[in-house]
């Protein structure tokens, strides 16, 4: 039998306010197999951890139970503590007497105290049966997959490759560049996006570490952090790649115009969206950069820009702000005015959100230098009349209705996730939010990681973003990948299933049942074997096995029975 030490935490008043910790410590002292017990104000503090280390050394403990908060909180802390004292970390367990005891029994100290003693007792039994385990080492394929060859994906690819690691860049379209390739110029400086982009594309295509797969799509994703197996289909041919990390950079689409029926949907050729206007302004676009009405090719003299055409509109569009429209609309209006100086540009807006370095000054320039007329109000309706597009709106600053007979109407429609994003998210087993954008692991502290280990996010697939933000995120995701690749090895929790080959009949039921493809029947021995790095310790195979040949390490049947008996005995 092990010599187990029990360490009871007060958690300030969180536990001690409801549970009589001294009585608990006293009771555990005489518990069978407990060699030592002590209570302390905050066991997770440095002096608290020192108590544990000292006790292990002085009293020769070979098992530790910390009675404290949920193991989700500090199990890892205390396992590190015992490891530092030379004990196998898997011989340390946490008994949760806070979330599952003191917090839920505030009005009954007597019963909470008895319950705490029972909980700790079961965990003592568990520790008696625990085996010392060693984390599983997982190989790292030091090669990254980047999905999406827009500016975010290009940035991530070039940064990872610059550190000397191999990159597979998968792009659905024929060319790299994504949405940025469709734009005319950038805001603030009117730099040609074609020039900016060609530099980036050059860097990526010239780099020998980067394999660019265009007209290619991810078909299936298996494996896990460090060892993903990704099937990529390129023009009908499938090929499998082994990669250690994946960066998702699938970008955005625009909200479909036809859903905005009050603005004519798709009915009127002279009502276009922001991207269509970008194509028109672009020297490589259909009009070679000249602004023309799509209906008859005339030069528009009155152009109305409608901001928030579907954004910030939970009834007819999406609730969120698309973030970049205030800026690109100002840019587009200025580019129009530079081309047609005698023309009039109107911008209907709800608020102007110019949140970036130099952004506010830029919108001011649109108003003051380029005489773009900003009207604070929404457009209610657009319809054709006498060869023009009638725009009905409100100017809420003057309180008046506004009617403009426009030649061209440009709708700043919302940015929405790429149409294929949801299917890809399912393949990657990555969560998406209510709108279909990929969910980050933490909105403040882990903005470029997904909750799936080894899958990172960059650019507008996560939320609306402009070019500098997409570049920032591409670089940040690359840094995450590089810090993973620079580790010598990565480890996997050893709490996995194991098979008693004496009992296994090789029926294969567990192979069917396993959701992680972590089992197979060995071709020679004909019994089930566990692919330990794939096993997530879910326990499905244990329940399924008719011979009880499967067990989960440190959750063995005898162990669980002993815990239950401890409960009944208490």
């Amino acid at each position: 039998m092990r010599k187990v030490g029990v360490f009871v935490c007060h958690c300030g008043r969180n536990i001690a306010g409801t549970v009589d910790v001294e009585r608990v410590t006293e009771a555990l002292r005489s518990y069978p197999g407990v060699a030592y017990s002590i209570d302390y104000l905050y066991m997770c503090s440095d002096p608290g951890q020192d108590l544990i280390k000292e006790a292990i050394a002085k009293r020769d403990l070979d098992g530790v139970v910390v009675a404290a908060c949920s193991p989700a909180m500090h199990e890892i802390t205390f396992r590190r503590t015992v490891a530092a004292a030379g004990l196998n970390p898997y011989l340390c367990e946490v008994a949760n007497i806070r979330e599952q005891c003191s917090w839920v029994h505030r009005d009954d100290m007597e019963r909470a105290t008895l319950k705490a003693i029972q909980i700790i007792g079961t965990i003592v039994e568990k520790v008696h049966h625990d085996e010392p385990l060693v984390p599983l080492a997982v190989p790292i394929a030091r090669r990254a997959l980047i999905i999406g060859g827009g500016i975010a994906g290009l940035q991530a690819a070039s940064d990872i490759a610059a550190a000397g690691y191999a990159v597979i860049l998968v792009e659905r379209e024929e060319r790299l560049g994504g949405r940025m390739a469709q734009l005319s110029g950038t805001y603030l400086n009117f730099d040609s996006t074609a020039d900016l982009l060609s530099e980036k594309v050059e860097v990526v295509t010239r780099n020998p570490h980067i394999t660019v797969l265009t007209r290619a799509q991810v078909e299936a994703v298996g494996g896990y952090l460090g060892d993903f197996k990704v099937k990529v289909r390129q023009q009908g041919n499938d090929k499998e790649y082994e990669v250690g990390a994946i960066v998702v950079a699938t970008g955005y689409d625009l909200y479909p115009k036809e859903r905005l029926s009050e603005y004519g949907g798709e009915r009127y050729p002279d009502v276009i969206d922001g991207l269509e206007f970008e194509r028109m302004l672009s020297p490589t676009g259909p009009t070679a950069g000249e602004v023309r009405c799509p209906s008859d090719g005339r030069v528009p003299q009155e152009v109305v820009f409608v901001q928030c055409a579907g954004s910030r509109d939970p009834e007819r569009g999406v609730s969120y702000c698309s973030k970049i429209c205030c800026m690109y609309t100002a840019k587009q209006a200025m580019m129009y005015k530079m081309q047609v100086p005698q023309g009039q540009a109107y911008i209907f807006y709800i608020d102007i959100r110019a949140l970036g370095k130099g952004y506010e000054e830029f919108t001011q320039r649109a108003m003051e230098e380029h005489r773009v007329l900003y009207l604070r109000g929404k457009v209610s309706k657009v319809f054709p009349q006498d060869g023009k597009m009638m725009v009905w709106g409100a100017d809420t600053l003057s309180g008046k209705r506004v009617e403009v007979a426009a030649d061209l109407v440009v709708l700043a429609t919302p940015m929405v996730p790429n149409a294929d994003a949801f299917g890809l998210a399912q393949k990657l087993r990555v969560a998406t939010d209510e709108y279909g954008f990929f969910s980050e692991a933490h909105p403040k502290l882990r903005p470029v990681e997904s909750l799936t280990a080894g899958v990172y996010l960059a650019g507008a697939c996560q939320a609306p973003k402009d070019i500098p933000e997409a570049v920032t995120q591409g670089g940040a995701a690359a840094a995450k990948v590089l810090s993973l690749f620079s580790q010598e090895k990565i480890t996997h929790d050893p709490i996995v299933a194991a098979v008693d080959s004496e009992l296994c009949a090789g029926c294969g039921i567990c192979v069917e049942v396993c959701p992680y493809e972590a089992r197979e029947i060995h071709p020679l021995t004909k019994v089930a074997v566990v692919k330990e790095v794939l096993c997530q310790g879910c326990g499905a195979c244990l329940v399924a096995c008719p011979n009880k040949a499967s067990h989960l390490r440190n959750f063995a049947p005898a162990q669980i029975m002993a815990m239950i008996e401890a409960l009944e005995g208490g």
């Binding site: 029926s261 009050e262 949907g265 009915r267 007819r316 309706k381 319809f383 054709p384 009349q385 006498d386 009638m390």
Partner: protein, 286 residues
Amino acid sequence: MRHLYFPGCTLSTKAKGFAASGEASARALGIDLVELSQWNCCGATFPLAMDNLLALVAPTRILLNAQKEGDHLVALCSICYHVLKRTNRLLREEADKREKINLFIEEEYRGEVRVFHLLGLLRDEIGFETLSQRVQKRFQGLKVAPYYGCLLLRPFQEIGLDDPEEPRILDDFLASLGCEVVEFSHKTECCGSYLTMNSSEVTRELSHAILRSALASGAQAVVTSCPLCQFNLDYRQGEMAAHYPGFAQIPVLYFTQLLGIALGIESDTFGLADHHVDPRPLLREV
């Protein structure tokens, strides 16, 4: 099938042709409209103030009477439909207001009756395809502008009959009668409504914009389901010629008048002669 029916004041007085054509057409289609044995005016406006509950007493009484005689109620007039439907929803979903109104009328009504517009019944119970097969005289080549106005569709969350921005119901109905339905920009704009009483110039201007848009789209007639819209669009045309040079007159019909004629019913009672702009020459033509 028997349906309880609320004609409302205007259909019993100024718009008798709307009522007669609607009732006869419904009967021909197997919809037996049985008039409520007791009814009063619906109030003809749904109050804009949230606490003006007194204005809801009249429609509540109508719904209460309907509950005593059946489980649903059909209206033809857009305004009656609008007021009854919204009042009913409020009584069903807003407990505090329901309690106050019930205390006032000293009876208990909880919004159980279901309120329908005849157009909704035609679409959902008969079906426009079936209706099309029942048509005896098709209006081949008649270009019509389906005019919805405001109250038949809005607010969508409470009425829910059709998309408030891009409605189809009247379009599809008219197409099933063989009409050529024109697309026009002002199909859901306001005609000026009650401003016709004290600011008739506003009504004239708004109604003119609607007719102008219909005419520009090539329409030969405008079709509506609201007696007040019909009045504003039709009667105010008398002044329009003087104010808007080049204005051409256009008949404004109730949807039931076209339905009755299409079903082969004798149109003597349809009030066609009472219109300011006589639709009969056009109807004879097609």
